[in-house]
Amino acid sequence: MENQSIITIENLVKRFPMGKDSFTALKNINLKFGTGEFTGLIGPSGSGKTTLLNILGSLDVPTEGKAYVLGKSIGSLTTKEAAHLRKESLGFIFQSYNLLQVHTVFENVEFPLLLLKYAKSVRHKMVMDALEWVGLTEKVHSKPPQLSGGECQRVAIARAMVKKPSLVLADEPTANLDAANSHHILKTMETLNRELNTTFIFATHDEKVISYLRRKIYLLDGRVDKDEIIRINQNERS
């Protein structure tokens, strides 16, 4: 299942200009991710987790080296091609949900499908399926301000998952959630990972998230410190 490579990172360096100098946030990263992984980038604040996720999400580009995502070299995509890659194949989950506040739950989840120009009936079914996964079918007509933090994050997950992307990038998805909600959401993601073979890459330092990961990549000061693959029986933990 996890044999095909979905991401290849070669000698990746990311520098940010800082006045006259520059700050190196990622230093010579070399990594490979296979399809269907459930992996976390773990590290203290400032270690470069978000920076790496942004590059994998084609929201940013490497300063040096290469990052191939689904066969595309991130550094050499035009903005249009990058948008196309995100639209077709990527799902983002943000720490702060980033839902569209004036739109209903349904409309928020529907958004990626509108961009993909699915027919109305198809959209309806896909949105309802996605809301079913996260257990929010009763809240279709609510708007984000009326939802709890956990519910918002579940909407965000539904939005990221609704088009069944090949790759989901989740940046601290549980940072604003209590333990019960965190576990609920992680279980949902785990199920989706298993059922749809979606690749999940997390950026986190939350122990709850870490306990679900099947591969842990420790970042420290912009370098890969440790890369552990854990083989656990799904049923053992809970």
């Binding site: 942004n54 999400g57 929201l59 940013d60 903005t79 249009k80 948008a83 196309h84 995100r86 639209k87 077709e88 990527l90 983002f92 943000f94 702060s96 980033n98 569209l100 506040q101 004036v102 739109h103 409309e107 958004f111 990626p112 509108l114 961009l115 993909l116 939005r159």
Partner: protein, 391 residues
């Protein structure tokens, strides 16, 4: 585009009060612009109609020497009626006028007047000339309300009129005011005295001679006649066009100020929402929008203010505009001071072209004003937008 419209609509409605404030300011511009422009075209229409009905008919032939601005030309500006027009005169489709100079002495004061000889049976002008067909000792004459006011003359008053006939001999007779009429055309009222044409011809010893010939309004163009200058209606109403043009120029300044205010509100909203909605912008990009598409979305959103404003304008503006067209707008100043064919109450006339062009111009301006701040999005770094940390 359809998606952008849908999103823009949701975002705008979601923004609530702020949107409606902008929409109301914009709709106010719509209504005021359409109303004022309507007043202008109403004025143009009224002035030209009044001139047609009272002063110029469908156009005129002037004796080649006639110049209404120079009374001294009156001595030489008359000639026998051209034969070509005789049958139309008989049928009442052409009205000849003989114009001469004279002096009246109301209450012992001296006042020079223009004497116009006109056929009492004419039907082209609304001047109640049939009243001239009364037999009295004095010569029956009618005057306009402005003249009556200035000379303090009333119906039934008898005054002495003095004139010089074509041989240069002075003569005098009494006239009696048989009617005072009121038009919106000061040019035919101010110092103008109307008596029967044959009477004036007799007084001037100018049998069968006339100064101007006015023809009835028709679509056919009139031929030139030797010794006479053809004055078409558009030539004779040029003064109105110029007046409207000058007034419109003044209005344009008002429109610009109104639009500027509305646009300032839109611009402000755009700048603020681009600043406050950085995370949302980042989210659109993360979900697969290009930055150009987000620029498009924000532009559509801003422009939609104008569309909503047009709808809101219909709700309260239409009844107002229709009511105005019915009751008219009475000018706070005395219209006769203008010295032009202006009614005291103007009835706005709205054309489809006026409404459409106003909506198009305002909408396009709104689109430009919405686009200018939105361009900034194209330069945004999506990762920084997502963090909401741009300045």
């Amino acid at each position: 585009m359809k998606l952008a419209l849908k999103l823009a609509y949701r975002n705008l409605i979601g923004a609530g009060l702020r949107t409606w404030l902008n929409v109301i300011v914009l709709s106010f511009s719509f209504v005021v612009i359409i109303w004022l422009k309507g007043i202008m075209s109403g004025w143009d229409y009224q002035a030209k109609t009044d001139m047609t009905n009272w002063e110029i008919g469908g156009g005129q032939y002037w004796h080649e020497n006639y110049d209404p601005l120079d009374p001294f030309t009156l001595l030489d500006s008359h000639a026998p009626i051209p034969a070509a027009l005789q049958s139309e005169i008989n049928s009442g489709d052409v009205v000849p006028l003989l114009i001469a100079q004279g002096t009246i002495f109301p209450e012992g004061r001296m006042q020079s007047v223009v004497i116009k000889g006109i056929n009492p049976e004419q039907t082209i002008f609304r001047i109640p000339t049939q009243k001239l067909d009364t037999s009295t000792d004095a010569i029956p004459a009618i005057i306009g309300a402005i003249m009556a006011k200035n000379s303090r003359l009333q119906t039934g008053d008898v005054v002495t009129l003095r004139w010089r006939d074509t041989n240069g001999t002075f003569d005098a007779a009494d006239i009696v005011i048989v009617e005072i009429f009121s038009s919106n055309v000061p040019a035919i009222e101010q110092s103008q005295l109307y008596i029967a044409l044959d009477k004036l011809q007799e007084m001037m010893i100018l049998a069968d001679e006339v100064t101007t010939l006015t023809f009835r309004e028709s679509k056919e163009s009139r031929p030139e006649i030797d010794g006479w200058t053809l004055k078409t209606k558009s030539m004779l109403t040029r003064q109105v066009d110029e007046m409207i043009k000058t007034k419109s120029a003044g209005q344009t300044i008002l429109f610009v100020i109104l639009l500027l205010l509305a646009m300032l509100a839109i611009f402000d909203t755009q700048v603020l929402s681009i600043f406050r909605r950085q995370k949302e912008i980042g989210t659109y990009i993360a979900l697969g929008y290009t930055r150009q598409q987000v620029v498009g979305l924000f532009t559509v959103e801003g422009t939609m203010h104008a569309v909503l404003a047009a709808i809101v304008s219909m709700v309260y503006g239409m009844p107002f505009l229709i009511w105005q067209a019915k009751v008219g707008w009475t000018m706070p100043i005395d219209a006769s001071e203008f010295g032009m064919a202006i009614a005291q109450t103007l009835y706005p006339v709205y054309s489809l072209g006026l409404v459409v062009s106003t909506v198009v111009v305002v909408t396009l301006t709104t689109a430009v004003v919405s686009y200018l701040p939105a361009r900034k999005i194209a330069k945004m770094n999506p990762t920084e937008a997502l963090r909401g940390k741009l300045q």
